[in-house]
C-alpha cells in the first residue's frame, strides 16, 4: 500500500518520455473531441454558446483545484481527499475577511489555504504518513472547526463589500475563466521549467533516486501541497464570490471531480508523470460529461457512476501503459 510505489525504474530516454507524453496528450484531446461530438449529435442544447459557457464555468473551479492536485499526484503522494471541504472553508473565510477589504480578504484566504493544506504536506513529507488518511482526517477536522466557528450557519459578506466582479463577465467571458487560463499557464511553466517542478517529477518517479540526488522530500512534498492549497483557496474565493454566501455543503463533488480531471488528463496516479495543460483539458472533459448527463436528465448519482467508471478505466489503462507495476 505504498503511497509512492517503489518499482524497478527502467531507463527511460527523453525521446521515449516525449513520445509517451505526446501519446497521452493525443489520447486526452481525442477523448475531449469524442465527448463533444457525441454530445452535439445526441443532445439538444449541448452545442450552444450558453451551454459552452456553462461547461467552461464548471471546468474553471474544478480545473483550478486540479492544477494544484496535479503537483501532489506528480510528487508521488497520491491525492488529497479534503480539497472540497477546504474550498468551502476558504469561501467562508474570504466572505468573512471582506470586512478588512478586498485585497486583504484575498491575501488572508490564499494564506489560509496554503497553510491548512501545506501543514498536511509537511506532516506527510516529514514523517512519510499516508497522504490519503492525513487528508481525510484533516477534512474532518476542518469541517468540525468550521461548524464550531460559524455555529453551523452560512457566512455572508459585509454590507457594501465590492467583490462581485470576481464572478462577473469581462468582455463577455466570466472572470474566473481568465484566472483559470492564467493559472494553467503559470502552473505548466513552473512544473516544466523550474527546478522545483523538475524535482517533483524526479521524486514522483523514484523517491529513492530523488533522495540519493540530494532532494529534500519533506520540502518538495510540502511545496506541492502548498501549491494545492493556493489553488484551492483561489477556487474558494471564486466560489464565495459567485454564491455570495459560504456553507460547508457548497462544494458537492468538487474533490472527486478535480481528481478525475487530473487522471483523465493522463497524470500517472503513482507519480512522476503529468502535465497541468492536460489536466486543464481533463477538467473540460469531466465538466462536459457531467453537463451532458445533466442535460439528458440524469441525476448526480448517475454522474458519479459514470465518473467512477471513467476514473477506473483511466487508472487501469494508465498503469498498463506505464509498465510500472506493484506486483
Amino acid at each position: 500500500m505504498s503511497t509512492a510505489t517503489v518499482t524497478p525504474v527502467t531507463a527511460v530516454t527523453p525521446k521515449a518520455r516525449r513520445s509517451t507524453s505526446s501519446r497521452i496528450t493525443l489520447g486526452v484531446t481525442i477523448a475531449a473531441i469524442v465527448v463533444l461530438i457525441i454530445g452535439t449529435l445526441t443532445t439538444d442544447g449541448f452545442y450552444s454558446l450558453a451551454n459552452g459557457k456553462a461547461i467552461l464555468n464548471a471546468a474553471t473551479i474544478v480545473g483550478i483545484i486540479a492544477i494544484g492536485m496535479t503537483y501532489v499526484v506528480i510528487s508521488g503522494n497520491l491525492f488529497s481527499l479534503s480539497v472540497g471541504v477546504t474550498a468551502a472553508v476558504c469561501a467562508m473565510t474570504f466572505l468573512w475577511a471582506l470586512n478588512y477589504g478586498m485585497v486583504a480578504a484575498i491575501v488572508i484566504t490564499l494564506a489560509f489555504g496554503a497553510i491548512v493544506i501545506g501543514l498536511q504536506g509537511l506532516l506527510v513529507g516529514t514523517t512519510g504518513a499516508n497522504p490519503i488518511m492525513v487528508t481525510i482526517g484533516a477534512g474532518a477536522l476542518q469541517e468540525a472547526v468550521a461548524t464550531w466557528v460559524s455555529a453551523g450557519v452560512s457566512v455572508y459578506p459585509p454590507e457594501g463589500a465590492i467583490y462581485a466582479w470576481l464572478a462577473a463577465p469581462l468582455f463577455g467571458i466570466p472572470f474566473p475563466v481568465y484566472v483559470f487560463i492564467a493559472m494553467t499557464i503559470i502552473g505548466e511553466l513552473v512544473l516544466k521549467r523550474s527546478r522545483f517542478g523538475r524535482s517533483l517529477f524526479l521524486m514522483g518517479e523514484s523517491p529513492r533516486a530523488g533522495r540519493a540526488s540530494g532532494l529534500s522530500i519533506a520540502t518538495l512534498t510540502t511545496g506541492a501541497f502548498v501549491v494545492l492549497g493556493l489553488c484551492t483557496a483561489a477556487a474558494g474565493i471564486l466560489i464565495g464570490a459567485f454564491n455570495q454566501s459560504g456553507t460547508l455543503t457548497a462544494t458537492g463533488t468538487l474533490t472527486v471531480d478535480s481528481i478525475s480531471a487530473v487522471l483523465v488528463g493522463g497524470t500517472a496516479v503513482i507519480g512522476g508523470r503529468g502535465s497541468v495543460l492536460r489536466t486543464a483539458i481533463g477538467a473540460l472533459v469531466v465538466s462536459a460529461i457531467e453537463d451532458l448527463l445533466l442535460i439528458r436528465g440524469f441525476s448526480t448519482p448517475v454522474q458519479l457512476l459514470v465518473l467512477g467508471l471513467i476514473v477506473s478505466a483511466v487508472v487501469v489503462l494508465s498503469q498498463i501503459n506505464s509498465g510500472r507495476s506493484n506486483r
Binding site: M1, S2, T3, T5, L78, F79, L81, L123, T126, T127, G128, A129, N130, I132, M133, V134, I136, G137, A138, G139, A140, L141, E143, A144, V145, T147, W148, V256, I259, L263, V269, I270, S299, T300, P301, V302, Q303, L304, L305, V306, L307, G308, L309, I310, V311, S312, A313, V315, V316, Q319, I320, S325, N326, R327
Partner: protein, 335 residues
Amino acid sequence: MMIRRTERSGIGEARWPFFLTLLLAVVVVAVPPIFGHAASLFTFYNALQSTACLGLIALGLGLTMIVGEFDLSVASTYALGGMLAVKFGGGSPIVGLLIGVGACVIFGLVQGFIVARWGINSMAITLGGSLVALGITGTLGDNKSQSYENYDVGVLLNNPIVGLFSLRSLTAIAMFALVFLLMNLTKLGRGMRATGGGRRASRTAGVRVDAIITGSFGASAGLAALGGVLQSFGTATATSNPGLFPLIFAVTACLLGGVGLTGGRGGAWGIACGSLTLALLSEFFSTLAAAQYVSSLVTGSMLILVTVGASPLIIRTWRESRARRTTAVPVPSAI
C-alpha cells in the same frame, strides 16, 4: 558484556488495543459523573451496536491492509449493501441480505482481481470503485434515504440480549470470531501476512498471492455490505450517501487495532478492540451531551495522530529506540 533479548511475538502488539479499550471503558464509567452525567449498561449496548455495523467495515478494510493494500470503497459498499437489502428484501430479509452481500462480494472481487492482475495502486482503483458503488446506491435510492417497511426485522436485530448484546452485535461478533479463527488456525492468515510483508518473496515461496489479494477485496466488500445490511435493517432505513465518516471510523479503528500501514501486521482481535474503542469514545461524548462537531474534531484528530504514529519515520524511530534499550542490558561478567 551485552546480551540480546528475543523479539517479542505479535501477541504483545495486540495487547495495546485491548488495554486502550479497557481504558476507554473506565473513562466512560468514571468521567461523566464529574460533569453530572452517568453512563449505564445501555451506553455499552449502544457501543456494541455501533461496532456491529462500523466495526465490520473496519474488519473488511483491515483485511486489505494486512495484505498490503487499501480498500477506499468500503464506505460505498457499506451503503450499497444496505440499499440493495432494503430494495430487494421487502418480501424476505434473507433474500435482501443475500443480494446485498452477494453483489458487493462480486464487486469487491472484481476490484481485487484488477489490483492483483495488473498490480494497480489499490487506493486509485478503489476510489473509482467507490464512485461507482455510490452512483449505483444513489440511483437505486433515488438520491435519498429509503425506508424499510418490515419493522419486525429491526426489532429482532436490536432486541437486547442480557441487556448488553443484540442479534445485530452478536452477528458482528460471530464474524470477527470467524475471521480470527480463519487467520489463526488456517494457512490463510499466514498467507495474508506473508503477502503483506513481502509480495515477491511470498510468491516465490508458493503463496497464492493473487488469489489472496482478490479474496481480501471480496471479503472486505462483503463484510462492509453486511455492516450496511445490519444498519439498514436495524434502523429500517438505507442511506444513499453515508459520507466519509464510516471510512474515517474504519481506518482509525484499524490503526488503533495495530494493523500496519505497510501490510503484514494486524488481526481481527486488534480491529475489534480498535472499533470498540472508537465506539466507546463516541458514546462518551454522547453521554456528556457534547455537540456533534466535538466528536468529529476528536475523530479527525485521532485519525491524523494514529496515521502519523504509524508512519515510517515514527516506526523507525521507535524501533531504533527499542533496539537501543534491548541491546544495552548489561549482564554481570563472571569473575
